[in-house]
Symmetry: C2
Subunit: 338 residues, 2 copies
Amino acid sequence: MLATILHKPGDIRCEEIADPKILQPTDAIIKLSASCICGSDLWPYRGLQPVDRPMHMGHEYCGVVVEIGAEVRTVRPGQFVVGSFCISDNTCPHCRFGFQSSCVQREFMSGAQAPYARVPLADGTLVATAEVPSADLVPDLLAVSDVLGTGWYAADAAEVREGSTVVVVGDGAVGLMGVLAAKEMGAERIVAMSRHESRQKLAREFGATDIVAERGEEGVARVKDLTGGVGADSVLECVGTMESFDQALACSRPGGTIGYVGVPHGVNFDGQRLFFGQKRMLGGPAPVRRFLPDLMDRVLKGKIKPGKVFDLQLPLAEVADGYCAMDERRAIKVLLRV
Amino acid sequence: MLATILHKPGDIRCEEIADPKILQPTDAIIKLSASCICGSDLWPYRGLQPVDRPMHMGHEYCGVVVEIGAEVRTVRPGQFVVGSFCISDNTCPHCRFGFQSSCVQREFMSGAQAPYARVPLADGTLVATAEVPSADLVPDLLAVSDVLGTGWYAADAAEVREGSTVVVVGDGAVGLMGVLAAKEMGAERIVAMSRHESRQKLAREFGATDIVAERGEEGVARVKDLTGGVGADSVLECVGTMESFDQALACSRPGGTIGYVGVPHGVNFDGQRLFFGQKRMLGGPAPVRRFLPDLMDRVLKGKIKPGKVFDLQLPLAEVADGYCAMDERRAIKVLLRV
């Protein structure tokens, strides 16, 4: 099959490789309905994360089970499934506490920018739908796998509640999903920090009540203006740079909460700054598995349309153009037809 | 009156100064029933915090109101009051959210290691009892002012719940109060990390179910053993050094919560470490004012005896001996008879 390999920063190719096979009795093989490119794929693509050997790219997926290992019990061939980018057994103590992204058997999914993929720990990782959904729902269900699940976790970690005032730092796909999540959770005011017109528009569609285009001190001043000088109850940090964390810390009120889901790169916190800032913080790789049933249900019932975040569709063979478009911020998120 | 002045690190003296006076119409003057020395007083005493000019020491207090400013409405001369070490108006948005230690008018109390003290923003800061309590309750009520309030906040910030597994890092007075707080909040298992026999004994009295004397990796291994390999739901960080934060991070489970109340000195966090550790964190100066009515009520009803934390009583004139005893860890906490 054709699959996506990153050979070195900037060198991404679609190449012929062997089809995936069952390696463990807990594995499943799925035929993907679609795949996509993640903002986090850009870290190694941009050389900001080491590429020691060719990387099989892609960790967001949904599709139809074609084969299962001997020990798989909860999914069977023919079923449509969505899985998390974090592989988990969903039975260990951390999973039972709802932190499947810290599962004792955690692996990170890879190789999903391809027509077929092997999913380890299929019972713990995959959630099946009752029926194979119609094709028009595939982008929405694909989004659940990571980008929506991660934005949702940002809002959950930031303790968004009915009536909350929320600031979303970052207008990438995850930030936009954070806006959608905050809206679904009942936030009253959702401030999207965005400088890009097309993203501002989408943020408003997903539920943003205010847009702040300024950054740094000016951005903080605007947020303070919008919140009567108080700051936000909840801030979703969806970037992962020191600049974005500075923004998040300065925009939240004392006792407010920051949910952070951008993998930190070059980020360091001074202890006294956090102490006297008095902000609650929780971040990490999103435990998407916790949210999968609920989010799939919202999609299948037509309550949410997270697939709108895909503003460019390409055939898998043109994956390199997709990386380029996201790298240059010409596309918010690229869906790959596999 | 005699009052306690820190002239430079190690040079603490009891000296004659003018009695405090009403400076603002919102002030009150109280005659202290007792005062005490705080672990945080040791930072400047040890030269770990700059001493630019003579410091009027002491921020924990309870006593009888002797004079009030023209605008004070909620307390009157003759009433017994307890106040927080953080002065707050108790009306600003941060106060209303329960974070009075980030009040827009916040000041830190000073000059309370003396027979009389001026308390600014008396209406927002002080809570009066219905009657003047008996003398034997004074140590307990004095403890509420900071050390218990701070240990309580550590447990509250660490989200201790009915049935929680809790680790307390630090066996100073605040850590011991954290044990008491966790017990009151219904924790099932309370692990006190302590190497000192007298402190271990007091920890057990306050509700610790387990003592871990080891530190570093050995300490973590013991906590993991005690928690079935999982780690604690809640960790109370009551020291403020990088070593103690390392301990706290390693002892809590993914998705667990760290409440930190030791003012961080030389503490720095790497962003990726916090991200992949997936620990919820909240710290800061304790909003004791939020807890005062409840904690005073528990003391007055005899439910808790936080005053046990004072294991040395000295007359104010011997305050230097008190600092020395705490610096050398010969005393957990020193009560000063004023």
